[in-house]
């Protein structure tokens, strides 16, 4: 399967490298030539435009940052859609709104291809180690075809449902992580009121049934959310807001998980 990869940043760079190293014929495109330099020692080839990349790819992976970046790279005379071959799969690795994926899926289908959403979790280290989580949404056949390429940097690859479901799962993960921060923070505060220091309590819980990734982050922040708020507060607020919008649009009661995530955002001084 011929792969085209766009979005060689801190997340996409190591993913693309794993794909190339796994032996998939890979074409890269980047706005700036300097971005391609780290791949000089690989068999990867370069295209002049996204359209040229698409013309020689069966799977086009987009690891750009946001909704607007995905739209831009797809559209226009030089865009992916202009060069798309019949039956190609477009995988959106960026974390974007599920509705954006559903809308663009129609556009890609009109151009003869299939769009799947495939947001990732695990960062650049997960990609380099081949242990990234891929949350895929879209037709089963398209996910099946892309899977051998995803497998080069990911384990597991989970098919969540129809197009947009991968994004929804990623947003729900970020919502639950945010909520877990408040319960972890409150537990350490409760312990302090009962005369148990946060370090001892953190040590015991880390070995106990209540351990969580979120608790580890709070304990390593000295029992406070300040450090996490400084570098992730905006992102978490955005994602919690997106889930709230999705729930409202679906007429679903977001319930305690949203109110608890909101409590976290308030503790972080990043209220929604």
């Amino acid at each position: 399967m011929r792969v085209g990869f766009i979005g060689l940043g801190s997340q996409g760079g190591p993913m693309a490298r794993r794909i190339v190293e796994a032996g998939h014929p890979t074409t890269l495109w980047a706005r700036r030539a300097a971005t391609l330099e780290p791949f000089a020692d690989t068999p990867a080839t370069y295209a002049d435009t996204p359209a040229a990349l698409a013309a020689r790819s069966d799977l086009i992976c987009l690891c750009v940052v946001g909704d607007e970046d995905v739209r831009q790279v797809l559209s226009g005379p030089d865009g992916v859609l202009a060069g798309l071959t019949h039956g190609a799969v477009v995988a959106v690795h960026a974390t974007v709104h599920p509705d954006t994926c559903r809308e663009l899926a129609k556009t890609v289908a009109a151009a003869g291809g299939t769009l799947i959403d495939a947001p990732v979790s695990g960062g650049s280290m997960g990609a380099a180690a081949g242990t990234l989580l891929v949350m895929a949404g879209g037709p089963a056949e398209a996910v099946r075809r892309a899977r051998p390429v995803f497998d080069s940097y990911a384990n597991p690859v989970v098919h969540l449902g129809e197009v947009g479901a991968g994004q929804t799962a990623k947003l729900l993960n970020n919502l639950l992580f945010t909520a877990n921060l408040a319960t972890a923070r409150s537990t350490l505060a409760l312990g302090a009121q009962l005369g148990i220091g946060p370090d001892r309590l953190g040590e015991v819980i880390a070995h106990g049934t209540a351990n969580s990734f979120a608790l580890g982050r709070v304990v390593s922040g000295g029992g406070s959310l300040d450090r996490l708020a400084a570098h992730a507060g905006h992102l978490l607020r955005k994602d919690v807001g997106l889930v709230a919008d999705l729930a409202a649009a679906a007429g679903a009661d977001p319930g305690v998980v949203l109110s608890t995530a909101d409590a976290t955002l308030a503790m972080m001084n990043h209220p929604r």
Partner: protein, 268 residues
């Protein structure tokens, strides 16, 4: 050391095995002939009553199922009163900090008492890596360590008598709150078109992961997991709520999440 043991069940049995392997002499309460055969089969001495368990013991370990059973054995049964001078009574059963205080009051002045709740299962005991959170003064913990180290690591000294229970209850309150949040996330996911089984294949590998989430994923659904841990959780959460209320301490955001765990699965 000479060690008395009460409660050689699912958790207690591998503890006895490890204590024997560490070279201790272990006397285990076994009232029926069947139990006696099982105990002697392990290589331990079968003690017919609590007095025989306590006689000449350097330490007695209690690992019964409920706090009520601890009170029956140690207070009504007279174990605390029968402890020899200078010995240490170690209670593993999760319960109320008040029980730990009551045992210390009932025991003779020169008997040491520690509350030492556990985290982990029989396989952790067999591997010598059970987590023990112990409450007691420094002397008590120093005396208990050589016993516990036969099957526990880490042994975390969390504070004075009763602190072990407090930590365990706080842990269980958080665990329950996490189950509540997971249940709510699963319900919301279904409303947004993501089925529970798919969500549970993904989230244990992402930033929302927790032991509780791994447990749900292993069981296949929140409902299954909740029914498998329900009794333990209900019991401890009730004690935690009473403890917090008694001290005038707020559970804060934990409160609503715990309530979500307590409502029946899929009731909405």
């Amino acid at each position: 050391m000479r060690i008395g043991f009460v409660g050689a069940g699912r958790m207690g049995r591998p503890m006895v095995t490890r204590l024997l392997a560490a070279g201790h002499e272990v006397r285990v309460l076994a009232r029926s002939p069947d139990r006696r055969t099982g105990i002697t089969g392990l290589g331990a001495v079968a003690a017919p009553d609590l007095e025989a368990v306590a006689a000449h013991a350097d330490a007695v370990v209690v690992c019964v199922f409920t706090d009520d059973q601890v009170r029956e054995v140690c207070l009504d049964g007279g174990l605390a009163q029968a402890m020899p001078p200078g010995s240490v009574l170690i209670v593993h059963t999760t319960g109320s900090p008040d029980t730990a205080t009551a045992l210390a009051a009932a025991a003779p002045d020169d008997v040491l008492v520690a509350d030492a709740p556990l985290s982990g299962g029989p396989h952790d005991i067999a591997a010598g890596r059970l987590t023990v959170m112990i409450g007691g003064d420094d002397t008590t913990v120093t005396r208990a360590r050589p016993v516990l180290s036969a099957y526990a690591d880490p042994i975390v000294h969390v504070g004075p008598l009763g602190a072990g229970h407090r930590v365990k209850l706080v842990n269980n309150a958080l665990f329950t709150a996490q189950i509540g949040l997971i249940a709510e996330a699963v319900r919301l996911a279904a409303d947004l078109g993501v089925p529970e089984s798919a969500l549970m294949s993904a989230l244990p590998h992402a930033s929302s992961s927790s032991r509780a989430l791994a447990g749900v994923a292993a069981r296949g659904s929140v409902a299954e997991f909740r029914s498998s841990v329900g009794d333990f959780v209900r019991k401890d959460v009730a004690v935690a709520r009473a403890l917090a209320a008694g001290l005038g301490v707020e559970l804060g955001v934990l409160d609503a999440a715990i309530a979500a765990a307590e409502t029946s699965a899929g009731s909405r």
